[in-house]
């Protein structure tokens, strides 16, 4: 069951009707039942994984709350993380590592056929295992209290709006709301309706229409010219943004309708000027997760080893930042998928972050957040354009099927640009038509630095946007109900 299906519409309306009738505890039971039904509609066998993840996190939370001894607490932490990493490792990475090991052994003249095993990737596993792990870590760190109610923990980890593709919610936010009685306000309902409309527009109008254009250029047997590669990569930038941020918006909108607030996961990421800004505007929940649970512990660990070093004229803090960032972004790449293209994309993102940090130090440019919050100004446009270009090259790696295809497509850009009207018509025009309205609205939002910009417009303008979005979805949207890209992660 995908968000962009009639099945989901009926499921959600029925859920909403029942939810409004029930008291708080009943609502939580209903949340668990609905979430498990939602997940089982993909493949009921994977429900077992979700249950194992939930029971593990719950048990770890209870034990961590009970134990005072640091050694035992650490043991519980490692056990909890171990179970989740084992689930993730087996179901997501077994095939990848086995294949590479077999290839490696093959180079040494050894055969290793025993490693062959077809493992199906359970949808959303990267998301709910990360959510469960964050709960265990937060309880271990005493940043959140252990939850005694299994139903509440199950509702938190299995929460259906975020179950398949995030945002990666934290216990301090979502579990707290689940444990408290809640009733949606009128303002929440209005915001929720807007987010649903905006999310469906991004998914069905922008992402799914651009997907057809991108697929033609990135087809394994295609030999596109450089201009086609450039335009299709830009189209993919908007496809993946529309797809993923559309999912997040729908998840946030649906949650608001039941009185639950989720964090903002995207803030017009293509208007930023630096890689650092990009990662505070793109998939924000993953960035924060990686920062809190990977980057900061790594920085701490590296600081003990690199304390006081000064290499190539750079101080120890730069080296610590570089080492922690590169490892974190490699893991981020691997999180997106078990393929070398994602590893390369992660390394590229890490290199951008480190490179910009060093550049900023060399040019003594201080990055200070503006006092009134992040706002796009037209003077930022050249830097934003450079950053967008760098981001798009990352998307080329991300979208390519293999390292060889990355090399071929990169080569085509520089050696066979082949501009033509046919390419402009076939790729450029759809890009303009499908991404143009999205960019226009985001430009207005970025200028104010607020995602609530449209809501503040005069009534006629606001209604024009709402109605135009409905027309765009109904008349030009893709009604094939295609899956969201991030489900595979």
């Amino acid at each position: 069951m995908v968000f962009n299906s009639l099945d989901f519409a009926v499921f959600f309306l029925a859920f909403l009707g029942l939810y409004r009738l029930l008291p708080h505890r009943g609502q939580n039971w209903l949340l668990v039942a609905a979430s498990y039904y939602f997940y089982a509609s993909w493949d009921w066998r994977f429900l077992a994984l979700l249950i194992v993840s939930t029971l593990t996190a719950y048990a770890c939370g209870v034990l961590l709350g009970r134990f005072e001894d640091e050694k035992r607490r650490r043991l519980v932490l490692f056990a909890g993380l171990g179970v989740h990493l084992a689930l993730l490792g087996f179901f997501k990475y077994f095939g990848f590592f086995a294949e590479n090991l077999r290839a490696l052994l093959g180079l040494a003249g050894l055969r290793a056929d025993g490693f062959t095993l077809q493992v199906l990737l359970p949808v959303g596993i990267s998301f709910y295992t990360f959510i469960a792990m964050s709960y265990v870590i937060d309880v271990y760190r005493r940043q959140t209290g252990p939850c005694r109610s299994l139903v509440d923990v199950a509702a938190f980890i299995g929460f259906f709006p975020t179950l398949l593709a995030g945002p990666l919610v934290r216990a301090s936010s979502l579990l707290r709301q689940i444990r408290e009685p809640r009733a949606p306000t009128g303002a929440q309902a209005a915001e929720g309706a807007w987010l649903l409309l905006w999310g469906y527009f991004k998914k069905m109008f922008v992402a799914d229409n651009l997907a057809h254009v991108v697929a033609q250029v990135y087809a394994p047997d295609a030999s596109p010219g450089g201009l086609a590669v450039v335009l299709a990569t830009v189209a993919f930038a908007f496809q993946i943004y529309g797809d993923f941020s559309g999912y997040s918006d729908i998840a946030r909108g649906a949650s608001k309708l039941i009185g639950i607030e989720l964090m903002v996961n995207f803030r017009f990421p293509y208007f930023v000027r630096t890689p650092q800004e990009f990662w505070t505007h793109w998939h924000i929940s993953l960035s924060e997760w990686l920062r809190d649970y990977v980057f900061l512990p790594l920085s701490f660990a590296f600081s003990r080893r690199l304390d006081g070093v000064r290499w190539l004229g750079l101080r120890d803090d730069v080296w610590i930042y570089a080492a922690a960032t590169l490892v974190t972004m490699l893991l981020a790449g691997l999180w997106h998928g078990a393929a070398w293209t994602f590893v390369l994309w992660g390394a590229y993102q890490g290199a951008l972050l480190v490179g910009f940090r060093v550049l900023a130090l060399r040019t003594r440019r201080k990055q200070k957040p503006p006092p009134g919050g992040w706002v796009f100004e037209w003077g930022h446009a050249p830097a934003a354009l450079v950053m967008f270009t760098l981001t798009c090259y990352g998307w080329l790696m991300f979208r390519a099927d293999s390292l060889a295809q990355i090399a071929v497509l990169t080569g085509r850009i520089f050696t066979a640009f082949e501009p033509s009207q046919a390419v402009l018509r076939a790729v450029g025009l759809p890009l303009l038509l499908y991404a143009g309205p999205l960019v226009a609205i985001h430009a207005a939002e970025a200028r104010r630095g607020s995602l609530e910009t449209v809501a503040g417009w005069p009534r006629a303008a606001r209604y024009s946007v709402y109605v135009a979005l409905v027309y765009a979805i109904v008349l030009f949207g893709d009604f094939q109900g295609s899956d969201f890209i991030y489900f595979q992660f």
């Binding site: 299906s5 009639l6 099945d7 009534r459 006629a460 209604y463 024009s464 109605v467 135009a468 027309y471 109904v474 008349l475 949207g477 009604f479 094939q480 109900g481």
Partner: protein, 376 residues
């Protein structure tokens, strides 16, 4: 009170925005072309007191979509063909009547099965014999209009053979709706006579949808979504011709079609010509994937789609008329194994489909003794 006024004001503003944007999109669709509702395409037609409309002599239009790009020219005789010269000695003339499957605006004139049939017949003709095959198909016509069109327009072309391309896919429905044209005077039955309020609303809704490109696209989108999730409340009228328990209007439509064919047979015979009927299959009758999709959709309504039933219905109805009926379905299915016979975006023939159909027709016409040649 203030709340009520604000609510009313919001509702009025919202309606105004909806209507203004609707108008803008409708205008965009019509001006952009690529749609049969575009003014350029509509300029091919002119009102006709008997037929409702007919092709306008001398009109031209270009139709461009993602799948095809074709130019359509209507000759001075009012059909989509090159100009028709006076009948020459030794010339054997065939007129092909039908609907959009015959007119074939999706391909160039030279690619139509009518033109290819003419090429094939001439290629094997022994001089001084020549063949002239005339495309007299008109978009949207049913059996009733096809008969009247021949009576009023194409019989003057002095055909030796009249080929009527019937399309069982929707001809029963269309014949039932236009039976009034066969009556003396041809005035339509009052659309609302004896209808319930719900039926009247349905009729009004259908009329509105036919008038607007936006509504047609919206309906297509909605039905696509409903089909995908098995929520279609009713089966499309043309598909009802393929149901074992077809509603009465289908049987009535088949009877009207039979009446029109009988009149056409009598007319052609009185003019010394022969009539032959060709049953042109619907896409899903040939395309297995399309059939599986529709079968599933119809199955969800508790009905069973019988792939060949409409063709059989027409063949049975026409059996007593002493008119040769050619079923081209089996050889078209064979051809579909080689390449696509029908287009993806419309249920009309591809250039390959036209070529295959021309080959089949040439053989069948020779077999039936309607044209002399090696196949006889």
């Amino acid at each position: 009170m203030r709340n009520k006024a604000a609510l009313q004001s919001n509702a009025v503003l919202l309606c105004a925005v909806v209507l203004v944007q609707f108008g803008l999109i409708e205008a965009g669709y019509r001006l952009k072309g690529g749609s049969e509702a575009a003014p350029e395409f509509q300029s091919l037609f002119t009102p006709d007191p008997v037929l409702g409309y007919r092709l306008k002599p001398g009109a031209t239009a270009r139709l461009t979509t993602a799948e095809f790009d074709s130019r359509i020219t209507i000759n001075q005789a009012g059909v989509r063909d090159r100009e028709i010269e006076p009948k020459a000695p030794g010339e054997r003339r065939l007129v092909v009547l039908g609907d959009s499957l015959v007119m074939s605006v999706q391909v160039s004139l030279e690619e139509t099965f009518v033109a290819r049939l003419e090429q094939r017949l001439n290629a094997s003709a022994i001089p001084p014999a020549t063949y002239r095959v005339i495309n007299a198909g008109v978009q949207g016509y049913g059996p009733v209009e096809e008969y009247l069109f021949h009576r009023d327009v194409t019989s003057a072309l002095q055909p030796d053979v009249v080929i009527l391309g019937l399309y069982p896919g929707n001809d029963a429905v269309e014949a039932a709706a236009t039976a009034f044209r066969l009556r003396e005077g041809g005035t339509p039955r009052q659309a609302d006579d004896g209808l319930s309020a719900r039926q009247r609303f349905t009729q009004w809704r259908r009329r509105m949808i036919r008038k607007s490109v936006v509504l047609q696209v919206a309906r297509l989108r909605v039905t696509t979504a409903l089909d995908r999730f098995g929520w279609r409340p009713e089966i499309d009228p043309p598909l009802r011709t393929y149901l074992a328990d077809a509603p009465p209007e289908i049987e009535r439509g088949v009877a009207v079609a039979r009446d029109a064919v009988a009149r056409l047979a009598a007319l052609t015979e009185s003019q010394g010509a022969r009539l032959v009927v060709v049953l042109l299959p619907a896409r899903f009758q040939v395309d297995d994937g399309d059939y599986a999709r529709l079968k599933e959709i119809v199955g969800r309504s508790g009905k069973a789609l019988d792939r060949d039933l409409a063709t059989e219905r027409f063949a049975t109805a026409l059996a007593g008329l002493d008119v040769p009926v050619l079923d081209v379905l089996p050889p078209l299915r064979e051809a579909a194994r080689i390449s696509d016979v029908y287009m993806q975006s419309t249920a009309h023939f591809t250039p390959f489909g036209h070529d295959a159909l021309a080959t089949i027709l040439e053989r069948r016409l020779r077999d039936a003794g309607l044209v002399p040649g090696p196949g006889r």
